[in-house]
Structure formats: structure tokens, C-alpha cells
């Protein structure tokens, strides 16, 4: 993804951040849990940087990248939770897998809709910009409310 349609200079600039993301992921799996979110953040930032640097209109792989990033985070968190060797009912693992699969599928659909809506004409850009700003504020607000609840 990084090397496709980008210059060598851009690749050289972005490769370290992708490498940092991988290292943070490994650190998270080794036990430093907070590194997991940072790994996802750095990985996502590296992808956005590559896409912007490529200069193309819309990357149709964005929904797939989004879901893979999300699954990397969730599966990493799941493996960290399982390191305590708790004797658990088998159904618990199956249930978590089903819910995670459903959430990933829903995320894929949502990301695909977002990419599909990017075909909307520029004349409506202000409306979408405002909707995006409201969505950003809502996301931050929901996270804060959730943490306090």
C-alpha cells in the first residue's frame, strides 16, 4: 500500500511510521496495553499520509484498511485478555467472536457508505463539512460520556 503509486521519497518518509506502528503492536502484545491504541493511531496516520501523498482522488481500499485496523486492535486486545489463563466456558469465546465479526462487518459497511458518499457533488460540500464536524464532536463526546458512565 505504501509503495503503490507513491514516490520513493514519500515511501522513505512514511515507512518508519508504519514500522513504528508494528513495533508498538508488538509491544502491546508483549504486555504494554496502552501501546495498542498508539499502534493503531500510528498505523492509521501512516495510511492517511500515504494516501494524501499519492494525490489520487479516492482510495477504494479505505474501508478494508479501516476494518483490518479495527480487527488488529480488537484481536490484540482479546489476546491480551486471554493471557491470564482463566478457565472459561467455551461459549464465551464463540459469542465474542460472533459479536466482533458482526461489528467488523457493520464497520465495513459504514466505511463503504462513507467512501460511496464521497461521490456527492462539490456544491453540497458545506453541508457535508458541517455534518463531519458534528460527527467529530459527537464521537469525542460519546467517548467521554462512555468513560464517565
Amino acid at each position: 500500500m505504501l509503495t503503490r503509486d507513491t514516490s520513493h521519497a514519500v515511501t522513505a518518509a512514511l515507512a518508519p511510521s508504519a514500522g513504528l506502528g508494528v513495533l508498538l503492536l508488538i509491544a502491546a502484545l508483549a504486555g504494554w496495553e496502552k501501546a495498542l491504541a498508539w499502534a493503531l493511531f500510528v498505523g492509521g496516520a501512516a495510511y492517511v499520509g500515504a494516501v494524501v501523498a499519492s494525490g489520487h482522488d479516492v482510495d477504494s481500499d479505505a474501508p478494508l484498511i479501516a476494518v483490518l485496523l479495527f480487527l488488529a486492535g480488537e484481536l490484540g486486545a482479546w489476546s491480551l485478555a486471554e493471557r491470564w489463563r482463566i478457565r472459561a466456558d467455551e461459549a464465551l469465546a464463540w459469542r465474542r467472536a460472533v459479536v466482533l465479526g458482526g461489528l467488523a462487518l457493520a464497520g465495513l459497511v459504514a466505511a463503504t457508505i462513507v467512501v460511496g458518499l464521497s461521490a456527492v457533488r462539490p456544491g453540497h460540500g458545506l453541508v457535508w463539512t458541517a455534518a463531519g464536524a458534528v460527527a467529530a464532536v459527537a464521537a469525542v463526546g460519546a467517548g467521554g460520556w462512555l468513560a464517565r458512565r
Binding site: 496495553e33 496502552k34 495498542l36 491504541a37 498508539w38 493503531l40 493511531f41 492509521g44 495510511y47 492517511v48 494516501v51 494524501v52 479516492v58 482510495d59 479505505a62 474501508p63 484498511i65 479501516a66 485496523l69 479495527f70 480488537e74 486486545a77 482479546w78 485478555a81 489463563r85 482463566i86 478457565r87 472459561a88 466456558d89 461459549a91 464465551l92 459469542r95 465474542r96 459479536v99 466482533l100 461489528l103 467488523a104 457493520a106 464497520g107 465495513l108 459504514a110 466505511a111 463503504t112 462513507v114 467512501v115 458518499l117 464521497s118 463531519g132 464536524a133 460527527a135 467529530a136 464521537a139 469525542v140 460519546a142 467517548g143 467521554g144 460520556w145 462512555l146 468513560a147 458512565r149
Partner: protein, 421 residues
């Protein structure tokens, strides 16, 4: 219960917000697409997470077990609301171990009731508190959890394992009550003692007709009566030698339990003195209740480091009745115990010292100087044994792996050789 939120929530919030803002700032749709699954995850976390309401109760099928036995811990759960993932941990002391691990994880539906059983193995004697339960309830994806303690700790008494003894050390003197010990005195009994001339008042059935026919006058049998004895088990709790789970104090406690059980079965009165940093005693009594009292005192006995100077005069007089047989179980590591035992001998008690040898646990470190120190230490122990033997106290060494019965036989042999007049 205390609520915890996973670090992922903050991370996903940051990613979702950064993606949306980056999309606005850069005019690209890809960051917004990246943010979508994470924003959905936050919505899912809000929907799935709710504080659960449930109850748990811990119980044991037995309160008293022997070393090496297994006990079943039962956890009864009842839920008012659904719990997607409930993790349970039974708090156990180091001396107990759960066969399949002390943790469980399960799901509870609303109004569900479940019972779990854990098998606990009792590795060592002692009085322990099993529990309470540590619980963690969370949503299915682990975004939020609630942790707390439930249930009450349950008391479990693990009694020390006992060895089998074929015979016991007889005391030099007996008491006046009837028992199973053949006394040295003469009177009514079963064991034949001697013949003597008939005196007025003697019963006809005691007449030895064969001796009477030989001598031409009446001669009667004399017997040794069966009396009980007072036995005091004297435990040295000033110091112990302990290496990797093996210790002299464990062997002292197991020997004390074995001896108490064996003497009480003979209808003797048995008492206990724990002489160390913390004094503990049980006045000599007989019967099954006394066995439980002694073992319960043993369970709570422990080595407590102390610099206090103690003598036997601090003990209540009833703990050391006259003519009692005092069996001292000691690793001979502390001078204060040696002083107390020699004091007991000076007061006229029938004293036997069983040295619970620490030599098997304290091997010398490599090096000529360490070996020299070790030899000097062994010589000082020899000198202490010589002090006891000089005042007529038999000292036997009970090594690890040697049955207690062998040490007691050695005591009996020593007393036969040096029988007092």
C-alpha cells in the same frame, strides 16, 4: 463494585475524532472511512455496557480435613441482570491449591442461577481462610468491567498428618487414676509383679496355690496396677530451619499431633506447651475433646522471632503437673529453650528431648571457611547434647526421612540402659 473502562475506549475515541477532523482538514474521505469502525465500536460499547446485578456465595463441604486431603468449594451464583462475562477468582493461601485453577469465567442470563465447584488440595497443615471471591463482570468485548469482592471467607482447618506408632515411651512415674500404663508400683492389676506372704485382708483369689503348696504356707500374687500418665508435649517455637517448603517446625507439629493422639488413646492426660516468641499452652486433660484442643493449638503455632528472655516460670503451674513426662520436640537452635529444659530437669521432671535435626536442611556452603563454621556449629550441638546427658536427660536425634517410631525406640533403649533406681 468499582467500574473500569478499557484503555481501548480512549484510544478509539482519539482515532475516531482524529479521523473525522483529518477528513475535514484534508478534504479527504479516507480518514473518515478509517474512523467509521471505531466510532461504531464506541456506540457498541455504550449499548453493551451496563452495571450488572448479581450475588455470589462461597461455601466448603468440610471445615476440618487432614493434610493431603481434598475439599470442595462451592460457588452459588444468582443474577438479577444478564452478565455477558463474569470472571471469578477464589482467594487461596499458598498452602492450598485448586486442582483446575482458582479462576472461572462464564456468562449469566437474567434471573439465572448457577453452581460451580472447585476442588482444593490441602498441601500443608494450618488454619486458613478460603475466599472471599474476587469478581469481574464485563461486556462481551471487554470495553467496560466492574470489579469487587463478594462472599465471606470460609475457615478451613487442615490437621497435620500423623505417623503410626506401635508403642510409646513409658513414663518413669504414673498418676493415681486408672489408665493403660503398667505402673512400677504394686497393687491390683493384671501384670504379674511378685510373690509375697499372705497378710490378713488379702483376697482369696490372689493366693498362688502352687507357691503355697511348695512352701507350706499361703503366698499371694502381687500385680502392677494400670495407671494413667500425664504427658506434656513441649514444643520449641523460638526458631526453625526452613528450606524450600521443608522445615523443622512442620515435623515438630506432625510429631506432636501423632504423640498427642497416641497418648490420648491410652487414656492418658496430654498437655501442650508452645515455648517461643509467643507462649501457648493447653492444660493436660484426656479425651477426644482434648485432642481437638491440642491440634487446634498446633494449627495456630508458628515461629515468631523474639529477643525476649523466657523461663518456664512464666507458665501456669497447671500446665506442668508433678511427675509428668515432658517430651520436648526441638531443633536445638535456641539457647533459651536449652535453659528452660535444663530448668525442668532440675525441678525433677521426667524429661526426654527429641532433637528434630536441622542438619538435612542446612548443608554447608562450599569453601573451607564455611565448612569449618559448619563443623564448629555441629560441635556446639554435640556439646549441648552432652549437657543434657550429664543431667540424665536422654536426647535422640530424629532425622528427616526417619520414622518417629524409630526415634522413640531409641529413647526406650536409652532408658533401659540408664534406668533410675
Amino acid at each position: 463494585m468499582t467500574r473500569f473502562t478499557s484503555a481501548r475506549v480512549a484510544g478509539y475515541t482519539a482515532i475516531a475524532a482524529a479521523g473525522l477532523i483529518a477528513g475535514l482538514a484534508l478534504g479527504r474521505v479516507e480518514p473518515v472511512a478509517l474512523a467509521a469502525p471505531f466510532a461504531l465500536a464506541l456506540v457498541a460499547a455504550a449499548v453493551l455496557g451496563h452495571e450488572p446485578r448479581f450475588a455470589a456465595r462461597l461455601s466448603l463441604d468440610r471445615e476440618r480435613v487432614l493434610e493431603g486431603d481434598e475439599v470442595t468449594a462451592t460457588i452459588e451464583l444468582s443474577a438479577d441482570t444478564a452478565v455477558d462475562r463474569l470472571e471469578l477468582l477464589v482467594l487461596l493461601p499458598d498452602e492450598l491449591s485448586a486442582v483446575d485453577g482458582p479462576t472461572r469465567a462464564l456468562r449469566l442470563r437474567a434471573d439465572d442461577e448457577r453452581t460451580l465447584e472447585l476442588t482444593l488440595r490441602c498441601e500443608r497443615w494450618g488454619a486458613f481462610a478460603v475466599g472471599p471471591l474476587l469478581v469481574r463482570a464485563g461486556d462481551v468485548l471487554g470495553f467496560r468491567s466492574w470489579e469487587g469482592r463478594l462472599g465471606e471467607a470460609q475457615m478451613l482447618r487442615v490437621y497435620p498428618s500423623e505417623e503410626s506408632l506401635l508403642s510409646l515411651v513409658p513414663p518413669l512415674e504414673t498418676q493415681v487414676s486408672t489408665g493403660n500404663q503398667v505402673a512400677r508400683a504394686r497393687g491390683e492389676g493384671i501384670e504379674f509383679a511378685d510373690l509375697r506372704e499372705w497378710r490378713p485382708g488379702d483376697r482369696l483369689r490372689r493366693v498362688n496355690w502352687r507357691a503355697s503348696a511348695l512352701r507350706g504356707e499361703l503366698w499371694v500374687n502381687e500385680q502392677h496396677p494400670e495407671r494413667n500418665t500425664d504427658v506434656v508435649l513441649f514444643l520449641d517455637t523460638f526458631a526453625e530451619a526452613r528450606v524450600q517448603g521443608r522445615s523443622t517446625h512442620d515435623r515438630v507439629v506432625r510429631a506432636a499431633a501423632t504423640l498427642a493422639h497416641a497418648y490420648l488413646q491410652r487414656k492418658d492426660r496430654v498437655g501442650l506447651v508452645g515455648f517461643g516468641g509467643v507462649l501457648a499452652w493447653t492444660v493436660p486433660e484426656s479425651g477426644l475433646r482434648q485432642l481437638y484442643a491440642i491440634v487446634d493449638t498446633l494449627l495456630t503455632s508458628d515461629i515468631v522471632h523474639s529477643y525476649a528472655l523466657r523461663g518456664v516460670d512464666v507458665l501456669p503451674p497447671r500446665t506442668l503437673p508433678p511427675k509428668a513426662l515432658v517430651l520436648a520436640l526441638t531443633p536445638l537452635l535456641d539457647e533459651r529453650t536449652a535453659g528452660a529444659l535444663l530448668d525442668l530437669r532440675a525441678r525433677g521432671y521426667d524429661l526426654i528431648v527429641v532433637e528434630v535435626s536441622p542438619l538435612d536442611l542446612l548443608a554447608p556452603a562450599p569453601g573451607s571457611q564455611a565448612e569449618l563454621v559448619h563443623r564448629l556449629w555441629q560441635l556446639s550441638r554435640e556439646a549441648l547434647r552432652w549437657r543434657y546427658e550429664q543431667v540424665g536427660v536422654p536426647v535422640v536425634t530424629w532425622r528427616e526421612g526417619m520414622p518417629l517410631a524409630a526415634a522413640l525406640e531409641e529413647v526406650k533403649a536409652l532408658r533401659r540402659l540408664a534406668r533410675p533406681a
